[in-house]
Protein backbone atom coordinates (compact mmCIF):
# COMPACT_ATOMS: atom_id res chain seq x y z
CA UNK A 1 0.00 0.00 0.00
CA UNK A 2 1.79 3.11 -1.25
CA UNK A 3 0.78 6.42 0.31
CA UNK A 4 -0.72 9.08 -1.89
CA UNK A 5 2.13 11.26 -3.20
CA UNK A 6 3.26 14.03 -0.90
CA UNK A 7 2.06 16.94 -3.04
CA UNK A 8 0.32 20.08 -1.79
CA UNK A 9 -2.95 20.62 -3.63
CA UNK A 10 -4.10 24.03 -4.76
CA UNK A 11 -7.68 23.21 -3.82
CA UNK A 12 -9.11 20.66 -1.44
CA UNK A 13 -12.65 19.64 -0.55
CA UNK A 14 -13.54 17.14 2.15
CA UNK A 15 -16.87 15.61 3.10
CA UNK A 16 -17.48 13.51 6.19
CA UNK A 17 -18.76 9.98 5.87
CA UNK A 18 -22.27 8.92 6.66
CA UNK A 19 -23.45 6.33 9.15
CA UNK A 20 -25.23 3.19 7.96
CA UNK A 21 -28.81 4.06 8.79
CA UNK A 22 -31.95 3.01 6.96
CA UNK A 23 -35.18 4.91 7.39
CA UNK A 24 -38.58 3.23 7.34
CA UNK A 25 -41.70 5.37 7.15
CA UNK A 26 -45.10 4.06 8.27
CA UNK A 27 -48.29 5.05 6.49
CA UNK A 28 -48.96 7.38 9.41
CA UNK A 29 -45.78 9.19 8.56
CA UNK A 30 -43.98 8.01 11.67
CA UNK A 31 -40.34 7.22 11.06
CA UNK A 32 -38.24 4.35 12.34
CA UNK A 33 -34.51 4.55 11.83
CA UNK A 34 -32.43 1.41 11.98
CA UNK A 35 -28.70 1.65 12.52
CA UNK A 36 -26.56 -1.10 10.98
CA UNK A 37 -23.14 -0.18 12.31
CA UNK A 38 -21.09 2.11 14.51
CA UNK A 39 -18.71 3.61 11.93
CA UNK A 40 -19.15 6.17 9.18
CA UNK A 41 -18.25 5.34 5.59
CA UNK A 42 -18.10 7.06 2.25
CA UNK A 43 -15.86 10.03 3.14
CA UNK A 44 -14.93 12.00 0.05
CA UNK A 45 -11.86 14.06 -0.67
CA UNK A 46 -11.51 16.07 -3.88
CA UNK A 47 -8.07 17.44 -4.68
CA UNK A 48 -6.95 19.78 -7.40
CA UNK A 49 -3.37 20.30 -8.46
CA UNK A 50 -3.31 23.33 -10.72
CA UNK A 51 -0.49 24.19 -13.07
CA UNK A 52 1.81 21.35 -12.05
CA UNK A 53 4.76 20.12 -14.10
CA UNK A 54 4.68 16.88 -16.04
CA UNK A 55 6.71 15.08 -13.37
CA UNK A 56 3.93 15.65 -10.84
CA UNK A 57 1.33 14.39 -13.31
CA UNK A 58 3.42 11.27 -13.83
CA UNK A 59 3.68 10.72 -10.07
CA UNK A 60 -0.10 10.83 -9.67
CA UNK A 61 -0.71 8.59 -12.66
CA UNK A 62 1.88 6.08 -11.44
CA UNK A 63 0.23 6.01 -8.03
CA UNK A 64 -3.20 5.51 -9.58
CA UNK A 65 -1.91 2.57 -11.61
CA UNK A 66 -0.02 1.16 -8.62
CA UNK A 67 -3.25 1.05 -6.64
CA UNK A 68 -4.96 -0.71 -9.56
CA UNK A 69 -7.34 2.19 -9.87
CA UNK A 70 -9.91 2.01 -7.11
CA UNK A 71 -8.92 -1.49 -5.98
CA UNK A 72 -6.16 -1.08 -3.39
CA UNK A 73 -6.59 1.30 -0.47
CA UNK A 74 -3.91 3.71 0.72
CA UNK A 75 -3.06 6.42 3.23
CA UNK A 76 -2.56 10.08 2.43
CA UNK A 77 0.59 12.05 3.16
CA UNK A 78 0.32 14.95 5.62
CA UNK A 79 1.41 17.43 2.92
CA UNK A 80 -1.95 16.98 1.24
CA UNK A 81 -3.60 18.49 4.33
CA UNK A 82 -1.24 21.41 4.74
CA UNK A 83 -2.92 24.20 6.67
CA UNK A 84 -4.98 22.00 8.95
CA UNK A 85 -4.07 21.64 12.62
CA UNK A 86 -2.92 18.24 13.88
CA UNK A 87 -6.30 17.71 15.55
CA UNK A 88 -8.24 18.34 12.39
CA UNK A 89 -5.80 16.33 10.31
CA UNK A 90 -6.40 13.37 12.60
CA UNK A 91 -10.10 13.47 11.80
CA UNK A 92 -9.77 14.16 8.11
CA UNK A 93 -6.62 12.34 7.09
CA UNK A 94 -7.10 9.15 9.12
CA UNK A 95 -10.74 8.69 10.05
CA UNK A 96 -10.99 5.64 12.28
CA UNK A 97 -10.90 2.38 10.34
CA UNK A 98 -10.94 4.11 6.96
CA UNK A 99 -8.68 3.69 3.96
CA UNK A 100 -8.70 5.89 0.89
CA UNK A 101 -9.43 4.71 -2.63
CA UNK A 102 -9.69 6.40 -5.99
CA UNK A 103 -13.37 7.19 -6.59
CA UNK A 104 -12.68 7.72 -10.27
CA UNK A 105 -9.64 8.03 -12.55
CA UNK A 106 -7.72 11.30 -12.11
CA UNK A 107 -8.40 13.79 -14.87
CA UNK A 108 -5.63 15.80 -16.47
CA UNK A 109 -6.20 18.98 -18.44
CA UNK A 110 -3.38 20.69 -20.26
CA UNK A 111 -2.63 24.34 -19.56
CA UNK A 112 0.46 25.02 -21.62
CA UNK A 113 3.28 22.84 -22.81
CA UNK A 114 4.62 20.83 -19.85
CA UNK A 115 2.08 22.28 -17.41
CA UNK A 116 -1.23 20.63 -16.52
CA UNK A 117 -4.00 20.67 -13.97
CA UNK A 118 -4.88 17.38 -12.30
CA UNK A 119 -8.13 16.63 -10.48
CA UNK A 120 -8.27 13.66 -8.11
CA UNK A 121 -11.40 12.33 -6.40
CA UNK A 122 -10.92 9.97 -3.45
CA UNK A 123 -13.36 8.10 -1.28
CA UNK A 124 -12.75 6.82 2.24
CA UNK A 125 -14.20 3.37 2.87
CA UNK A 126 -14.02 0.90 5.74
CA UNK A 127 -11.06 -1.38 5.81
Amino acid sequence: MANFPSIKPTARSFQLGQYPVKTYRAMSGAVVRRSFGNKAFGYTLDLQFENVPEATVNTIIDHYNGQQGGTIGFAIATAVFTGYTVTLQGKVRNPSGIEWLYAEPPSVSSVIKGISTVTVKLVGEMR
Partner: protein, 154 residues
Protein backbone atom coordinates in the same frame (compact mmCIF):
# COMPACT_ATOMS: atom_id res chain seq x y z
CA UNK B 1 -38.91 9.01 16.11
CA UNK B 2 -38.03 5.42 16.91
CA UNK B 3 -34.47 4.22 16.62
CA UNK B 4 -33.39 0.61 16.31
CA UNK B 5 -29.83 -0.59 16.72
CA UNK B 6 -29.37 -4.30 16.22
CA UNK B 7 -26.14 -6.24 16.48
CA UNK B 8 -26.13 -9.84 15.35
CA UNK B 9 -23.70 -12.41 16.70
CA UNK B 10 -23.02 -15.46 14.56
CA UNK B 11 -21.63 -18.51 16.37
CA UNK B 12 -21.19 -21.53 14.13
CA UNK B 13 -20.01 -24.99 15.09
CA UNK B 14 -19.46 -26.96 11.91
CA UNK B 15 -20.14 -30.67 11.63
CA UNK B 16 -16.40 -31.26 12.05
CA UNK B 17 -16.35 -29.26 15.29
CA UNK B 18 -14.67 -26.08 14.00
CA UNK B 19 -15.97 -22.93 15.70
CA UNK B 20 -16.48 -19.56 14.03
CA UNK B 21 -17.63 -16.39 15.78
CA UNK B 22 -18.53 -13.11 14.07
CA UNK B 23 -20.62 -10.02 14.77
CA UNK B 24 -21.84 -7.47 12.23
CA UNK B 25 -22.27 -4.13 14.01
CA UNK B 26 -19.00 -2.99 15.60
CA UNK B 27 -16.70 -2.47 12.63
CA UNK B 28 -13.14 -3.69 13.19
CA UNK B 29 -13.86 -4.07 16.91
CA UNK B 30 -13.88 -7.55 18.43
CA UNK B 31 -16.68 -7.92 20.97
CA UNK B 32 -17.08 -10.30 23.88
CA UNK B 33 -20.33 -12.22 24.27
CA UNK B 34 -20.74 -14.94 26.89
CA UNK B 35 -16.98 -14.88 27.46
CA UNK B 36 -16.11 -15.53 23.79
CA UNK B 37 -14.54 -13.15 21.28
CA UNK B 38 -16.54 -12.23 18.18
CA UNK B 39 -14.65 -10.54 15.34
CA UNK B 40 -16.34 -8.20 12.91
CA UNK B 41 -17.59 -9.60 9.62
CA UNK B 42 -19.96 -7.88 7.20
CA UNK B 43 -22.67 -10.54 7.15
CA UNK B 44 -26.42 -10.23 6.94
CA UNK B 45 -29.06 -12.57 8.32
CA UNK B 46 -32.27 -12.79 6.32
CA UNK B 47 -35.45 -14.54 7.26
CA UNK B 48 -36.99 -15.29 10.59
CA UNK B 49 -34.30 -14.64 13.20
CA UNK B 50 -36.67 -15.34 16.06
CA UNK B 51 -39.59 -17.74 16.08
CA UNK B 52 -41.80 -18.85 18.91
CA UNK B 53 -43.85 -21.34 16.92
CA UNK B 54 -41.26 -23.97 16.08
CA UNK B 55 -42.50 -24.16 12.50
CA UNK B 56 -39.15 -25.01 10.96
CA UNK B 57 -38.38 -21.48 9.85
CA UNK B 58 -35.51 -20.83 7.51
CA UNK B 59 -32.80 -18.24 7.81
CA UNK B 60 -30.16 -17.30 5.25
CA UNK B 61 -26.88 -15.75 6.31
CA UNK B 62 -25.04 -13.90 3.56
CA UNK B 63 -21.29 -13.38 3.67
CA UNK B 64 -19.00 -11.79 1.07
CA UNK B 65 -17.30 -14.40 -1.07
CA UNK B 66 -13.92 -14.11 0.64
CA UNK B 67 -11.51 -16.63 2.11
CA UNK B 68 -12.74 -16.67 5.71
CA UNK B 69 -16.33 -17.16 4.59
CA UNK B 70 -15.40 -20.00 2.26
CA UNK B 71 -13.97 -21.75 5.33
CA UNK B 72 -17.40 -21.59 6.97
CA UNK B 73 -18.66 -23.83 4.21
CA UNK B 74 -15.64 -26.01 3.55
CA UNK B 75 -14.89 -26.74 7.20
CA UNK B 76 -18.36 -28.15 7.65
CA UNK B 77 -19.15 -30.43 4.72
CA UNK B 78 -20.99 -27.76 2.76
CA UNK B 79 -22.72 -26.35 5.86
CA UNK B 80 -24.63 -29.57 6.43
CA UNK B 81 -25.62 -30.29 10.03
CA UNK B 82 -23.58 -27.39 11.36
CA UNK B 83 -25.02 -25.71 14.45
CA UNK B 84 -25.65 -21.99 14.37
CA UNK B 85 -26.47 -19.84 17.35
CA UNK B 86 -27.65 -16.44 16.15
CA UNK B 87 -27.86 -13.85 18.88
CA UNK B 88 -29.70 -10.61 18.23
CA UNK B 89 -28.74 -7.80 20.54
CA UNK B 90 -30.70 -4.57 20.85
CA UNK B 91 -28.40 -1.66 21.66
CA UNK B 92 -29.18 1.61 23.41
CA UNK B 93 -27.96 5.04 22.29
CA UNK B 94 -24.62 4.40 23.99
CA UNK B 95 -24.35 1.15 21.97
CA UNK B 96 -24.59 -0.93 25.13
CA UNK B 97 -26.77 -4.06 24.97
CA UNK B 98 -30.25 -3.53 26.36
CA UNK B 99 -31.92 -6.76 25.32
CA UNK B 100 -30.75 -10.04 23.81
CA UNK B 101 -32.51 -12.83 21.99
CA UNK B 102 -30.95 -16.09 20.93
CA UNK B 103 -32.08 -18.58 18.29
CA UNK B 104 -30.54 -21.87 17.21
CA UNK B 105 -30.42 -23.39 13.76
CA UNK B 106 -29.12 -26.42 11.89
CA UNK B 107 -27.25 -26.02 8.61
CA UNK B 108 -28.96 -27.38 5.52
CA UNK B 109 -26.57 -26.24 2.80
CA UNK B 110 -24.88 -23.34 1.11
CA UNK B 111 -24.46 -21.73 -2.27
CA UNK B 112 -21.90 -19.47 -3.88
CA UNK B 113 -22.25 -16.57 -6.25
CA UNK B 114 -19.58 -14.24 -7.62
CA UNK B 115 -19.77 -11.94 -4.63
CA UNK B 116 -21.80 -13.73 -2.00
CA UNK B 117 -21.85 -16.94 -0.01
CA UNK B 118 -25.26 -17.93 1.23
CA UNK B 119 -25.48 -20.24 4.22
CA UNK B 120 -28.92 -21.73 4.77
CA UNK B 121 -30.31 -22.93 8.08
CA UNK B 122 -33.51 -24.19 9.57
CA UNK B 123 -34.59 -23.97 13.17
CA UNK B 124 -32.89 -26.66 15.19
CA UNK B 125 -35.98 -27.48 17.20
CA UNK B 126 -37.70 -29.35 14.39
CA UNK B 127 -35.20 -29.61 11.61
CA UNK B 128 -36.25 -33.18 10.86
CA UNK B 129 -39.45 -31.89 9.29
CA UNK B 130 -42.43 -29.65 9.68
CA UNK B 131 -44.53 -32.53 11.05
CA UNK B 132 -42.20 -33.27 13.93
CA UNK B 133 -42.35 -35.80 15.42
CA UNK B 134 -42.26 -37.62 12.10
CA UNK B 135 -44.92 -40.20 11.28
CA UNK B 136 -43.95 -43.84 11.47
CA UNK B 137 -45.13 -46.25 8.81
CA UNK B 138 -46.51 -49.39 10.35
CA UNK B 139 -47.91 -52.48 8.71
CA UNK B 140 -51.30 -51.35 9.91
CA UNK B 141 -50.95 -48.12 7.93
CA UNK B 142 -49.28 -49.59 4.90
CA UNK B 143 -51.04 -52.90 4.58
CA UNK B 144 -49.29 -55.85 3.00
CA UNK B 145 -45.72 -55.00 2.12
CA UNK B 146 -45.53 -53.99 -1.53
CA UNK B 147 -43.38 -55.62 -4.14
CA UNK B 148 -42.48 -52.27 -5.71
CA UNK B 149 -41.81 -48.76 -4.37
CA UNK B 150 -45.45 -47.65 -4.37
CA UNK B 151 -46.80 -47.21 -0.85
CA UNK B 152 -50.51 -46.70 -0.36
CA UNK B 153 -51.58 -45.23 2.93
CA UNK B 154 -54.92 -46.62 4.06
Amino acid sequence: MTEIRLAQYFYLVTSTGTRHRYQNFFVSEPRILDGARFDFAPFRAEGSTANLNGDNGMVRVLFPNVEFAIKLVEDGDGNRLSELTLTTQWLNAALAPSRTYQERYVGIGASYSDTTIELRYRTAMDSVGATFPGRTLTRGLVGPLPLNADLVLQ
